[in-house]
């Protein structure tokens, strides 16, 4: 795999990252480690373990962890034994002072990410569950194991933002193990020096802020994290205050991987500073380098820019990449979405045990508790008497949300106008989705590919930004479009959503699945793809946009089992009302 836009690829930098993180795990938040599972990642993690403070807890947190284990809750066995509520500590509480390793972070959902983010921000886990109200310290750092393959497959932005380091281990063969460069004793010494660190010079802070701005980093967290990284680096060096060298290293490790724009390097002199990993204890006197004049800030900024990794420019301004076909982004690596979670929990109900229902023990105990005095009678040997009528079961609300996937023919002949019309329809639907909380996605196909132009979203803000510019022109690879739609739809089903496909095409395929032109083969492929829609059991609507109705224009719709409507002029309002009608009969 090639190097990616946000990577620290330098082998020594990987080791340095682990070392700085081990010095101040709480302040630095964590490391987002992008790497497939394998020896490289294991070696890096092992190195980190060696450097962490002795006795610091370090645990893997599985993706499917539930709230009662993560945040804490009522320990039922102990509560029953003791006849009083006993608190079970959550994993986050147990990790206080240590590091949580989050496996498969790229699959984490926003709600899960927000729980971790809250703990990182407040350094405490706040529990309001199962009749318990507690606030326990949970000062910890995190390592996000990111096994994502596609560029969009990333851990949630809310968490990435709070991780000081975004490290990519995919590009190099074998990263240097952290222990090769630094010894636990050095790290421990640095950690104790951290406490007595003095206020950083203004020039350093100005330089980090300015460098972040020049790289297009809007949020204020990254420069602050960079400052902490610089402080950890100064401590590692044995210095008491942050020098420009520290700031340069911190900017390279913390800011460069997040850069969205390439700063203008007009007068940066590459020879003033070298891009080398810092020595363990530089002998240079650091006080001489930190002064307060604004020109110093400029100097540091220049040094930062000069020290950016060599491939930085190409990473930030990549050669215009083709948009990735939808199939690539949706066939995500990793587990299928768990089937144990069917909907969101919503209270509980009384009833009898039956196949598949889950007992809510806390609520059951609550129901049984007031009767204990009556029930125990003479026999006091039994602690708790629970009867059938006390049973309470978890009730889940199946949030069968719908995702409307537009598959739009963006080929040459009718492309531009059609695409604009489809955009109008998508935006109108989004406005409706805003009320009904449904998702909308858009796939365009033209030339030799089908592109996922808008991944499923219900955010107006995001959709508007992405819809602004859509390409058009080329042949008609209908089969590819249908294939991409089926893949995306299946992915949505796996996420518990109900997909609904809407095809806007004139139904004249001339490019086959292999991307080769040829009407006959294209026709055959499109037909086969259409049958897959029917086989997958996905509801669909097929809007024929050809100017004049043609005999057999509904053949693909028939194969898909889709509702068919000729629509010579696409008008956003008409599409929306048509779809509302179709959906009423089609969608489950």
């Amino acid at each position: 795999m090639n190097s990616t836009p946000d990577a620290i690829s330098n082998r020594a930098d990987a080791a340095l990252t682990a070392t700085l993180f081990a010095i101040d795990p709480v302040g630095l938040g964590g490391v987002a480690l992008r790497s497939p599972p394998g020896p490289a990642r294991d070696a890096w993690l092992e190195g980190l373990v060696r450097l962490l403070a002795p006795g610091a807890p370090m645990r893997r947190v599985p993706l499917h962890i539930d709230d009662s284990r993560l945040l804490g809750g009522l320990d039922l066995a102990a509560s029953l034994n003791a006849s009083r509520p006993v608190v079970q500590c959550g994993l986050l509480r147990e990790l206080d002072g240590g590091v949580a390793i989050l496996a498969m972070a790229e699959r984490l959902e926003a709600a899960g990410a927000a729980r971790f983010a809250a703990v990182l921000d407040s350094g405490a886990v706040v529990l309001e569950r199962d009749g318990l109200a507690r606030r326990d310290p949970a000062r910890l750092g995190m390592v996000l194991l990111d096994e994502g393959a596609a560029p969009e497959e990333r851990p949630p932005a809310a968490l990435l933002e709070r991780m000081a380091f975004h490290l990519d281990l995919r590009s190099d063969g074998e990263p240097q193990a952290p222990g090769d460069l630094y010894q636990p004793a050095d790290v421990n010494a640095a950690r104790s020096r951290l406490a007595e660190a003095s206020a950083p010079a203004s020039a350093i802070m100005e330089a980090l802020c300015a460098a972040a701005l020049m790289m297009g980093i809007v949020s204020l967290r990254p420069p602050l994290l960079a400052l902490r990284a610089a402080r950890a680096h100064a401590a590692l060096r044995g210095g008491s205050s942050i020098t420009s060298d520290d700031a340069v290293v911190a900017a390279r490790l913390v800011l460069a991987p997040r850069a969205l724009a390439a700063p203008e390097m007009d007068s940066a002199d590459p020879e003033t500073h070298q891009d080398e990993p810092p020595r363990e204890s530089s002998a240079s006197d650091d006080s001489s380098k930190t002064a307060d004049a604004p020109s110093d800030a400029d100097m540091v900024v220049k040094a930062i820019l000069a020290a950016l990794p060599e491939d930085f420019l190409t990473r930030v301004n990549p050669p215009k990449r083709d948009r990735k076909p939808a199939s690539g982004s949706v066939s995500g690596a990793g587990a299928a979405v768990s089937s144990t979670r069917c909907g969101r929990p919503r209270g509980s109900r009384s009833g009898q045990p039956q196949q598949g229902s889950r007992l809510n023990l806390v609520e059951t105990l609550r129901a049984a508790a007031p009767w204990q005095g009556l029930r125990s009678g003479a026999d006091s040997s039994v602690r708790m008497r629970v009867r059938r009528e006390d049973f309470r079961f978890r009730r889940f609300v199946q949030r069968r949300q719908s995702t409307t996937i537009f598959v739009v023919d963006a080929s040459g002949s009718t492309a531009l106008q059609r695409l604009a019309e489809a955009k109008g329809a998508v935006e109108l639907l989004l406005a409706k989705a805003y009320v009904t909380r449904a998702n909308v996605a858009l796939i365009g196909f033209r030339g030799a590919r089908a592109d996922l132009l808008l991944p499923p979203t219900r955010s107006l803000t995001r959709a508007k930004n992405q819809l602004a510019e859509l390409p058009g022109g080329g042949g008609t690879p209908l089969a590819l479009g249908i294939d991409a739609a089926v893949v995306l739809a299946r992915n949505e089903v796996a996420k518990g959503q109900t997909p609904f496909l809407v095809f806007l095409t004139d139904g004249r395929p001339n490019i086959g699945r292999d991307g080769a032109p040829g009407r006959a083969a294209a026709e055959e492929d499109a037909m086969a793809a259409s049958r897959e829609v029917a086989e997958a059991g996905i509801s669909a609507a097929y809007l024929d946009t050809s100017p004049r109705a043609q005999p057999g224009g509904d053949r693909f719709a028939l194969a898909m089992g889709a509702a068919y409507a000729p629509l010579p002029y696409v008008d956003a309002g008409a599409v929306v009302s048509l779809l509302s009608g179709l959906r009423a009969t089609q969608a489950p």
């Binding site: 206020a199 972040a212 609300v397 219900r458 955010s459 508007k464």
Partner: protein, 342 residues
């Protein structure tokens, strides 16, 4: 509990601070919704508010810290005793800013059967939840768009009625729960339902400061706070106290602030001009303008006050047109400029 970042030390973000102070002055304004980018100090500002709120008289050791003047008799028996008969002792209490953590269960939000007493004594006893704790204070929901729907519905109902009605587990309890609902969220992570949005009196859009000096100042203060929270807090303590005094004065003044007919008319005209749905907009602008005047110590509401609070009170009530590119704020400011002149 860790020490909160002082409110007065927050750099910039004038609009958010103004909205929070208005809500602290007039709690009937209906809550504040804060939208914004990551890392803009949304949560910091709300949590800092706790240190600013003036103390209040409350019934001693009442789990709901009831107002001796308003709440007596409203919840007979909810706390296990009858406030109407017992001789009331009054204490000074500090209003709370209660955090509603994600993952909170319904029983902790509304309150539920006290499990310990039920298990050990076999007694039915109501254990107050977060809504009781937030009474007369603030209830803060970070990432409100990620909260479970059934919890949101429940909160909205209580926030609107000012009373929490618990009918579960054989309990039947009512207790006062008047609080200022403060939500925060990132619009990129999903929109809020319009019904929910409409319940918030004010809405704020927070942006990251883009001036270098301001950004450096944020960093400098944050760093100083991180290294020594105690020293940092004592440095800003006087400024916080000054704001607290302003709130106290404003609360005393607000009922006597005059709202001339002319200003009232321009509020209505402004709401019509921007097409704000319903009457809630008018009312909220009026209340907010009055609170803003009181905060400044002004005896009369002027057009300037209206202009200052109009975007806060109206921007989330405009009918959304997804094809319109200019933001709601710009529309309101344009309308205000036409109405009041530059």
């Amino acid at each position: 509990m860790s020490m909160a970042y002082p409110f007065s030390a927050i750099v910039g973000q004038e609009e958010m601070k103004r909205a929070l102070l208005i809500a602290a002055t007039d709690s009937a304004i209906g809550g504040v919704m804060v939208f914004g980018d990551r890392g803009t100090g949304k949560s910091t500002a709300v949590r800092a508010l706790a240190a600013l709120l003036p103390t209040m008289p409350a019934v001693k050791s009442c789990p709901f810290h009831c107002d001796p003047e308003r709440d007596i008799g409203a919840n007979p028996g909810a706390c296990g005793r009858d406030c109407r008969i017992a001789a009331l002792e009054i204490e000074t209490a500090r209003p709370k800013v209660v955090d509603l953590p994600l993952g909170a269960t319904e029983d902790r939000v509304v309150g539920s059967l006290d499990l310990e007493r039920a298990l050990t004594l076999g007694e039915k006893h109501f254990e107050p939840g977060l809504l009781a704790r937030a009474h007369r204070g603030f209830l803060y929901i970070d990432e409100v768009n990620l909260l479970e729907d059934h919890l949101v519905d429940l909160l909205l109902d209580v926030a609107a009625s000012g009373e929490n009605v618990v009918e579960r587990e054989g309990l039947s309890v009512r207790h006062p729960a008047r609080f200022v609902l403060v939500g925060s969220g990132n619009p990129e992570e999903g929109e809020l339902r319009p019904q929910l949005l409409d319940r918030f009196g004010l809405s704020v859009e927070v942006r990251t400061p883009d001036l270098l000096d301001e950004r450096v100042e944020v960093m400098r203060r944050r760093d100083a706070y991180d290294r020594d929270p105690k020293a940092f807090q004592s440095r800003w303590c006087a400024d916080d106290a000054a704001i607290r005094t302003r709130i106290v004065h404003a609360r005393r003044l607000i009922d006597s602030v005059d709202l001339p007919d002319g200003v009232m008319q321009s509020i209505s005209r402004l709401c019509v001009a921007v097409g704000a749905d319903g009457l809630r907009g008018d009312l909220t602008v009026m209340r907010a303008a009055r609170a803003q005047a009181a905060l400044e110590g002004a005896p009369v509401v002027t057009d300037r006050h209206v202009r200052e609070v109009a975007p806060l009170a109206l921007r989330h009530r405009l009918r959304r047109n997804p094809l319109e590119t200019s933001g709601s704020t710009a529309r309101i400011e344009r309308a205000a400029a036409e109405l009041f002149g530059e």
